[in-house]
Structures are given as C-alpha cells and as structure tokens.
C-alpha cells in the first residue's frame, strides 16, 4: 500500500501545475463527497417524523438506496422541497417521509366528477 501511495505521489509530482490542480481537486471532491454520504438507517433514526431529501450517490441502489447525502430534513415538507428546488436537475434525489404513512383513521377520497366516481380510502 505504501509503495502504491509513493508511486502515486511521484506520478502527481511529475504532472504540470494545471494537471496537479485538476487531480488534487478531484481527490478532494471525492473525499468530501464520501464524508457526506451517510447511512439512511442512521438518518431515519436521527430524524423521525420528518421529511428527508437525500442525493443518491453513484453506485447505490437506485430504488432502495441504503446511503445518501442529506440535502434537507424538516417536519415541514415545503421547506424540504425548497432546498430540493435549488439542486441541479441532474442530481438523483430521493424524497420521503420518515414516519407512518396514511395514519389510522385518515381517509382520502378522489372523485373524478367527469366520469365514474373513483374512491380511495386509506387507514382504518
């Protein structure tokens, strides 16, 4: 390992200043991103009952991510969406409520008045 690191350092030393800047910048960005990636299990334990938005890192499960970079968390959904709105469209974002969905006793009805009534009831 030490030998490989030494080889890497020597290789970087041979680069031109602009190449060095690019390589070091890339390494720093990678380290920063890695340090911001957190386990979703930890985030869920830390922010119960809140809306969470996380960026899904590359290589993570795209449907059921286990890790992510926290963008925003709040009991107030709209404030979380405001933070998400600031993100580039290219970011892969997962937004979810970290709590019970459709609590018992809660019902919702959708009735398309232009057509056959459709009814949805959730909860007890």
């Amino acid at each position: 390992m030490v030998t490989k690191v030494e080889e890497l350092v020597k290789t970087i030393q041979r680069l031109s200043p602009s190449e060095k800047e690019y390589v070091i910048g890339s390494v720093l960005r990678f380290m920063q991103t890695e340090s911001e990636i957190q386990s979703l299990a930890d985030l869920k334990a830390r922010y119960p009952g809140e809306w969470l938005a996380v960026i899904i890192p590359e290589g993570e499960d795209r449907y059921n991510p286990q890790r992510g970079c926290l963008v925003a968390h709040s009991p107030d959904k709209s404030s979380v969406w405001q933070r998400v709105a600031d993100l580039p469209a290219s970011e892969d974002v997962y937004l979810f409520f970290n709590g019970p969905v459709a609590a018992k006793g809660f019902g919702i009805i959708f009735h398309d008045t232009a057509d056959t009534p459709v009814v949805t009831t959730v909860g007890d």
Binding site: Y63, A89, D92, F97, G99, K104, T113
Partner: protein, 131 residues
C-alpha cells in the same frame, strides 16, 4: 417487449397501504401509494416542478377530495419506473395531497391499466408485468 418485476415488499411498505418507491424521469425517487381506486396516477405540484413539467396549458379535470372540489392539471410524465418496470408517457394528475398522507404520489390506473398485477399481502409479494 414484456417487462416483469417481482418484489418482496418490506414491512413498512405494506402496513396500512401498499407503498412503492418509484423513479420519475430517472432523477427523482418518491414514495407512491399503489391505488387501484384512482383513475389517474397522481403527483403533487412540488414533484411536478422538480420534473420541470409545464402546467400552464394543461387540461384540467375536476377531482373531489375529502374536503373540496378541485381542478387538477392533467399532464404527462415521460417516464415512470417501478423498480425497473418502466412505462413512458403516463397521464398524470397534479394535485396537492394532504401532508398527513406522507407520500408524494399515487400510482393509479393510468399506469396500472397497462399491467398485470399480483399482490400477495400475507407473503408481502408484489408482481407486475406489462402485457
């Protein structure tokens, strides 16, 4: 081409309702309620903004919620992806959902009508196949 998915749903996804993590336009992952009682697939205005949907000229459809009659914008989502089963150009209504519902969308019949579906609640199995 037939697409098929077979999922073992986690407990949280099948408590009071059936919840699915759904990717929209490949860059936004939200939770939706599987809702065979909803004629349209539904997303909230926040999701529509994230997807960059222009609702200005969208057709409006009347929808009665639990409390009031609302006019919902009817739009088309380019790509709805349920765990790898992808349908394109899905007719979708945009309407505010109650925050207490805890989801940002309903996966309704405008999506499901193109699929065969098996839901085995006791065994927490969900299968979906395009016909």
């Amino acid at each position: 081409m037939t697409q098929q998915i077979r999922l073992s749903l986690p407990q949280w996804a099948i408590d009071n309702v059936v919840l699915l993590n759904v990717r929209l336009n490949d860059r936004t992952l939200i939770r939706m309620i599987l809702d065979t009682g909803a004629k349209y697939t539904v997303i909230t205005p926040d999701v529509a903004r994230r997807l960059g949907l222009d609702l200005q000229g969208a057709r409006r459809v009347p929808v009665t919620t639990a409390t009031q009659l609302e006019m919902a914008a009817l739009t088309t989502v380019d790509q709805i992806d349920v765990q790898g089963l992808v349908l394109r150009d899905v007719e979708t209504a945009v309407i505010n959902l109650p925050t207490a519902l805890g989801v940002e969308g309903l996966l309704g019949m405008s999506f499901l009508r193109k699929c065969r579906m098996l839901l085995d609640v006791p065994n927490r199995l969900f299968e979906l196949e395009t016909s």
